[in-house]
Symmetry: C2
Subunit: 263 residues, 2 copies
Amino acid sequence: MESLYIIKIGGNVIDNSESLHRFLEAFTKLKGHKILVHGGGKVATQLGETLGIEAKMVDGRRITDIETLRVVTMVYGGLINKNIVAQLQRYGTNAIGLTGADGNFIKARKRPVKTIDYGFVGDIDDDSVNAKGISALLDAGFTPVFSALTHDGEGQMLNTNADTIASALAVGLSGLYKTTLIYCFEKKGVLKDIDDEDSLIREINPERYDELKTAGIIHSGMLPKLDNAFKAIGFGVQAVIIGHADDLGKLGDGASFGTRLSN
Amino acid sequence: MESLYIIKIGGNVIDNSESLHRFLEAFTKLKGHKILVHGGGKVATQLGETLGIEAKMVDGRRITDIETLRVVTMVYGGLINKNIVAQLQRYGTNAIGLTGADGNFIKARKRPVKTIDYGFVGDIDDDSVNAKGISALLDAGFTPVFSALTHDGEGQMLNTNADTIASALAVGLSGLYKTTLIYCFEKKGVLKDIDDEDSLIREINPERYDELKTAGIIHSGMLPKLDNAFKAIGFGVQAVIIGHADDLGKLGDGASFGTRLSN
């Protein structure tokens, strides 16, 4: 099986032009098949504010009403996605910008209303990812760039968390490729001491993960991230790497990058 | 050679939800390879107004300053493009939404400043269209949906007229496919009497075109449209059809649709 990197970047990279360019250059240098997944950033929030659309949050999650869906479709699917694609083309990556609607690549289900109506938010199922379709693109020499948007197959665009999309792609494509899922965030990786960037933990397997949790070294915000990472590994993903976008270049150089989670 | 339809729709279809759905259904029923090209519509103008960006026109042409470019990248490349793709997927067309930056499919040149600075407007060259790349997508079973955006290959998105993009695609792909270029507009086709929709001229070849011009039947606004159409035919396009979007279904039924221009 060929290798495939699925790399997710968030607002902290997108909002900083220098970081973004450094990242896109390093991304271009990575050999082999790769997929980029990006979230939003300040631009969506700012545009929403300018248009008088209030960001509605419940329990830290954005409520996607129809006006917010329009904004994210414009900003994620248009402005950010196409500018990243144009930059990647400049660096020599044959990028193609996508949402889950394109090629029916990621079909989601509008989140059912229980106590909270999240609006036009798409949840991912086991069979959401159209692995064959995405593979056809990869085989034709294209590098997909996914924004955090899906569709329901009935004509409705939906907003889906970029971390979730990246993970679903890595799992969904693990039957066809040796997939490595990479989350770029604002730290060098999983740190023993959150205030010390030199305390990076380079490798974590499930046993070590249990030890780190028991010792209280990994806690709070990192727990769901790592739980989801090990879940993806359980579903066939080769490894999950969590690291700083600025360090992606090390991966191309064969050096170690961030924290590597694997079985 | 296989056949390929390149079909352009404008604001009059996009702005009318009923027209759009009727069109997308007819588009889906068309057999064989096809490409959709869409322009903007009222949404871009409205969003620009809400954001306080004044639409700047010189000689009937939109000046694309950086703020306007952001708006059209959001609206054409995001909102309109992705909603059309999601609708087409619902109807069963395996659409994939694109700009010229994606796959480096259409590389344009920023219009040089002479007397007027048009801003971020992309002009098309003979070698702008990446026919091989687009053909790879078509062969993989995708139906490309292009918005009126290109790039310069140096990381800059550009705004390019949708009619021009459609024509460039038809010419550029005519070496690989028997291309038919279809312009959908608000009339049934070329009319003998502009106020009489029953006065449709069904076929025009270059000789007949000269006669119609000499007789003063074709004049003013239709002249550049038809001149460009015959230019495209001169460059290898099999036929150009000009007709009403509502009538596209007739083409799938094998009936005559609009005005057919050919050699």
